[in-house]
Symmetry: D2
Subunit: 321 residues, 4 copies
């Protein structure tokens, strides 16, 4: 099995993939030991390889608690109906300060990192290593890798800001962890495949859709949302994306609580398909947080089945049937 | 075939039954020549005979444009699930002035009728036969029958206010028609049977339900109405009836546009059955006015079938199915 | 002060009026000692006297837990906008068996009552006074009055089925109380006045409306109900009444929880007035059961006031204002 | 008056600003001749200057028909309540091929532009100047400026891909216009000020809001959208933005049809303010397309005023007022 991920190695996407492999190994679409992990420069190029059959699965970031939806991934998911989400992973976005050999913070004279990561830790740097100079690197992974490869002498006094995975991967010593100025940021990742198989219902599942509305007006969005409400289906995410043809036209990327195998989800999808010109089903898969949705008796499978049987029985009484 | 109706003979219910027999003769549940028509003093007693198998069908008034729902009929329909509405008839409520032999209005000296009918024509009487005395009768039918049976001499100068059917039935001469002070009143009647067979879809049908709501609050009624709206099903009648157990508890007698065989109606019924503790299906039958409901593409049978096929196909992709 | 009620004396309506006078005496529109109580044969005739200034107030039944809305009263309320409901009373519908002098049940040989009341106690009669003959009276009050007026000798062995108030009023001895076969029936009464003054808010109030919908379709009823839902206003009663012009046209008689002085009620009324061709306000008055509605923070007066101030402040920033 | 814009000079934002100054000159917040136009490297830095009083107004892109909402601008607008949108401009995204001196397309040997623009015209380049080499520039404006500054000899055979405004601004000759491969792309810009004055209603207006929902569930979005629907207010744009605190929390950037001075808009805002924890009003301003919203009689100012007067009159009848 070949797994693509948004690289380079030791990115948070890499970590999400390792998490998924560790947890879901025995399930369909996963394979532990023989797994080959392939970094990609962009989700779009990895998706091309996936569709071409050169990858079996692909891990990609879909949503960030600070910056919102990840456009690159959302657009890839919206563009094709041949890709299915089979798992989600949530990874805390946290940074460490790491060095070649153990040392005191007071000994750190130079800190290397990618600009983006540096912006997230600058408060900590000012407070804890105020005298150190800051040196840019092409990525946090590159900063860690370079430091690991440096001769011991040259590495003295130098540290890198990187992910916990990068520190571990390149054999660095962690001097401080959780050094980001704002705690609690998370990124959500999805593992997608090409074979169209949908994981079985676990009872704590999520379903992802891309929906295009009939007209660009409040009524259409309300009508679509009513299809969910009528069947007691909650939304856990809704994001607009432009359709690209004209100003003010959007599609909506939506996560709902529940699995295609839930009768209430199946019926909500049927309703949505009727009232919306485009509905892409992107997958039903276990929730990373394991939460089970609160459902009422009126939206249980049993209620749907009983109501269905009732109508079927009545229908048999129609003359000529 | 034995048909009951709310009597005595020549009532508007009688006329509704004759209309139904004339129009629907070849359809299931109808039989022309061999039909036996039986008048009843109340809908409740006729319904008892119907359920006991002594009648094959029963015509009863359900709604009057002036006085609203006919409680007696609505309560009978709400009380049992063994009765099915198979046809509706609408009869204009109109009166004639009729006599034994032809004469001028100026010659009329005495007018007989039931108090209720008299109240509806008193303006006309004042204007057109101001000198005539008014004599009460036990029913308009009785007034007509008695006049028809009177010797010619005794009938001179006498007239009866009755239904057009009564005048015709008892061989009277119509001196004036449409003499009611307020024109346009109508009564709607339903023909009910016991065998449970539902007439085939015609494309211009109506469906009658009795629905009990889960709680006595605006939210519950809204939720029930949403089940119709979601499927593009219009209501043509909604009436509240007390459930009889406590103040403020109602069931609703509802007519919707469409037939059980319409996918949108079937799905609305499924939804209703889930959210309401009690839903009685009372029948799908051709509309008396022949109007076809305005439906959108999203609520056509084709749209329901396509959406259903889509979900079924997706469901096949679930692992382990 | 002259108070009309649906008579004769000792009816449940009479009792409702006595209850109201006892409870609300010091409030506007009520007067204790000097009150003159006038029985009427119908609500319509009493309403005519009220509008003519010959009565100050009128007590009338509006809703019965067994039979539903009282058409006579609902139609009077719908027909005029000069009448205001200022109080409601709920009276349990219960019967007693009463006699001239104390005696054992075994000694009862004859029971007098109105047919309607008898039907509600026949199970009890069969069980407890199986040997007694049943004699019809023109009303339960008449049965009680006649028994009270009979010479002691003639009254021996005779009993009357009547309201507790009738037994008390005519000085009879109660042999058994609560003899109705079905317990818990209640009737709701309203006290109406002509002067248009609305009782002050108590915090546990009800408001009564008559609403006519723009079109005869589910959409219109939904739109009207949404006006209540948007403002968190619950309905405690909704009943349809035909408008009288054509089949399938209704007005709705509605009770909502809350007082005109509540901001959420005022705003719901504003919305309703916009979307419905006819909205009659029939009164805001204290609830008989004293229950306070459960409201959320978003529908408190404070929330309405804050939102209003915000919009007013923004509006001041518009150029040229 | 000092106007900032997203630079460098001759960007589409620059053009949007020139359009606005040409059209709206006499209105409040605009000043023609004395206008000073200042390019900025980012919307965020320009906004800082605006809030500091160093700018009077700022033009910024808010929405692109291909890429959707412009995050930088949306986040600036969401972050402060001291900024007001006073105008919108829509600019077609179109490119020209321009040269120093007139020449034939066949004579073009070298084409300079920014990578981003090149990507949008590469089909046209292959078809019309297949032999020309492509040279990168730091911006389309820089490509045009450099070509304009080159000695005539050096400029021979050279062309630049740039905006029509850049060609005009730098005195270049347009060899071909509308050379983008996909036609019809547009960007929407907003002009924002700091003084809080809201332009007067024109009848064809738009209002922009940022709304945060109470809970992250479908019900909350529905409830918010109902506030618009209840008042007949259409949405012309809705976009989600993460709130930044946790996964799955969003605020919504919303454009609605209508002006704060419209009663229906004012009442929708009041409702929204009650049910949502955060509502930012960003401005009411004339629509670039001049379209007037289709409103019904029930949502006219007259309907709101009549309903309001009715409730006010009723309220005066409450005892003690």
């Amino acid at each position: 099995m070949r797994y693509g991920f948004l690289g380079p190695e030791t990115t948070f996407t890499h970590q999400a993939l390792l998490q998924a492999l560790a947890q879901h190994a025995p399930e369909p679409g996963f394979a532990g030991d023989e797994a080959v992990l392939v970094p990609f420069a962009s989700v779009a190029t990895a998706a091309t390889d996936l569709l071409a059959g050169e990858l079996d699965a692909l891990m990609a970031p879909i949503e960030n608690s600070v910056e919102g939806g990840v456009s690159g991934t959302l657009d890839v998911l919206a563009a094709t109906s041949d890709i299915t989400i089979v798992a989600e992973e949530i990874v805390p976005i946290t940074f460490v300060l790491a060095s070649r050999e153990p040392m005191e913070l007071a000994e750190v004279t130079q800190v290397a990192s990618h600009t983006h990561a540096q912006a997230q830790v600058q408060g900590w740097l000012r407070a804890h290593v105020p005298g150190a100079s800051v040196v840019p690197a092409s990525s946090t992974a590159a900063a860690a890798k370079e430091l690991a490869a440096a001769p011991v002498e040259e590495a003295r006094g130098r540290a890198a800001i990187c992910s916990p995975l990068a520190a571990q991967h390149f054999g660095l010593t962690v001097l401080a962890e959780g050094i980001e100025d704002t705690r609690g940021a998370q990124t959500r990742f999805v593992l997608v495949t090409r074979d169209g198989r949908i994981p079985a219902r676990t009872g704590a599942d999520k379903t992802t859709l891309v929906v295009q509305l009939p007209h660009n007006r409040s009524g259409a969005l309300l009508e679509a949302l009513h299809q969910f409400q009528t069947h007691g289906v909650n939304l856990s995410r809704i994001e607009s994306r432009p359709t690209g043809d004209t100003l003010g036209r959007y599609s909506f990327s939506i996560d709902i609580e529940g699995h295609l195998a839930d009768r209430r989800v199946g019926d909500a999808l049927r309703g949505l398909r009727r009232v919306c010109p485009v509905v892409h089903f992107l997958g039903s898969y276990p929730r990373a947080d394991g939460l089970r949705p609160a459902t009422s008796e009126a939206t249980s499978d049993a209620a749907y089945d009983a109501a269905h049987e009732w109508v079927v029985a009545l229908t048999r009484q129609i003359s000529g049937r």
